[in-house]
Symmetry: C2
Subunit: 296 residues, 2 copies
Amino acid sequence: MDNFADRLIDAIEAKQNPSMVGLDPDYSKLPELVKQNAVESPEAASQAMLDFNKVIIDSVKGIVPAVKLQSAFYEVYGAAGIKSFFESAEYAKSRGLIVVADVKRNDTWNSSRAYSRAYLGKGKPFDAITVNPYLGSDGIKPFIEDGNASGRGIFVLVKTSNPSSGEIQDMQTGSGRVYAVVARLVDAWGKGTEGRHGYQSVGAVVGATYPKDAKMLRKLMPKALFLVPGYGAQGGNAAGVMPCFNRDGFGAVVVSARGIIFASAGDDFGHAAKQAALKMKSDLTGMMRDRNICPW
Amino acid sequence: MDNFADRLIDAIEAKQNPSMVGLDPDYSKLPELVKQNAVESPEAASQAMLDFNKVIIDSVKGIVPAVKLQSAFYEVYGAAGIKSFFESAEYAKSRGLIVVADVKRNDTWNSSRAYSRAYLGKGKPFDAITVNPYLGSDGIKPFIEDGNASGRGIFVLVKTSNPSSGEIQDMQTGSGRVYAVVARLVDAWGKGTEGRHGYQSVGAVVGATYPKDAKMLRKLMPKALFLVPGYGAQGGNAAGVMPCFNRDGFGAVVVSARGIIFASAGDDFGHAAKQAALKMKSDLTGMMRDRNICPW
């Protein structure tokens, strides 16, 4: 398969849209239309999540290049939820979308190898996964190796979008803040994973909620693709995510979950998701034009 | 249910053994006896892991107070693997063992809440889980709240046992190394979770491979229970884990996985696991007696 970074950038260019929809189907927020059973059994809930995701995917597949599935909302239903997680990913893939497993996994080498095979192994429907850097290189290398072997990528948590992300990530060390230390590791880990567009398949998670940090991180990881959560419901906006892009207008993909998938709680949730996805595209590309970095 | 820290300490005292068996059933290493099908289908592999675990559990249940399941080896088989993960945990629980889900999960608040319910929710067979601190307090709080509500606990990664753990964890900040910053957070998060033995249900993962760091961490988190991986196959030994214990002889539980479960590759793997678990108990308690900290 082609290099992951190339595939993601080609998809962004084809849709003229650097955004991604988060399929985070919190069961308690699903529209009544997809909750076919009154009782929240693991099987019924998992089926409802899959049905919901299919409607969302079909509504946004012409607009966005990629989707991201937050594993937690599926894992809560055990084996049935995992089945729904993989089936949702397969469905998105079958509709031509790039699919990211947002699992934030990490462990020591031996276990990271197993995690890597669970999501980036042969036949798995994911194009990339998110990973946590706290254990350092030997917990990350298996993901990079498996990704390289199959045209897939990883996104390493660098500066996360949540309010308390600074407690550890912002600590000042002799080599800059902790997130800067991680950024340099990401840049090093990405060496050799560049595609023809010049971007690396080892990317970084950089929250939309910390624009000043993003500006510095863009310099520390010039060739990394940024996965940018926190737009919309978490308070990030189009102006705030601009530092995540390079001057070529690439290098970042901005995620919105709740703002798209729960745009309406009624039976029209698919239509509402489509409208919200179009609005996000227009917000982002409008701001990129204002800053003279829109590539299309 | 009783406080988690009390339950773990009572179980350690009852077995007179501060150790834990890691149920990390890497399929490629399973004895031929449990591989009933030549083809490694997810279902066959998952069944083999469950069968294997049952033999191990029955072999060590009289010796160790607790087991820990490494999620990665189950996740690699998707939904079938997750079924095996939960069924193995249920089986261990039914045999009177404390059960830890080694999942190293973490995310922003909303997703951490879902992860928490996936493993510490009502009816789930786990007594505690491992979590990653990189996102700070708001990614950890849901686990603590759910744990408190149901007599369960968490173990936060502080200083991990792997070779590259220092790349981020050992960085020197204005408030000590990164692992010391995390240790102070763990100490703070644990406030209010103390049981009658004085220990907190918010514990720490501290690798057996870094004894000097463990000594400092014991001082920074005097009331935290340490989950100590890295003994045996990873190179940690009985002398090296002693700094993880308090002077009362409690405060730590030492994990061995491969050294116990793969003690024999033959049909006698259950018997060999029992012998290896007894040897580990004898190693640890012998060293505790030498240091005058053996509580029984």
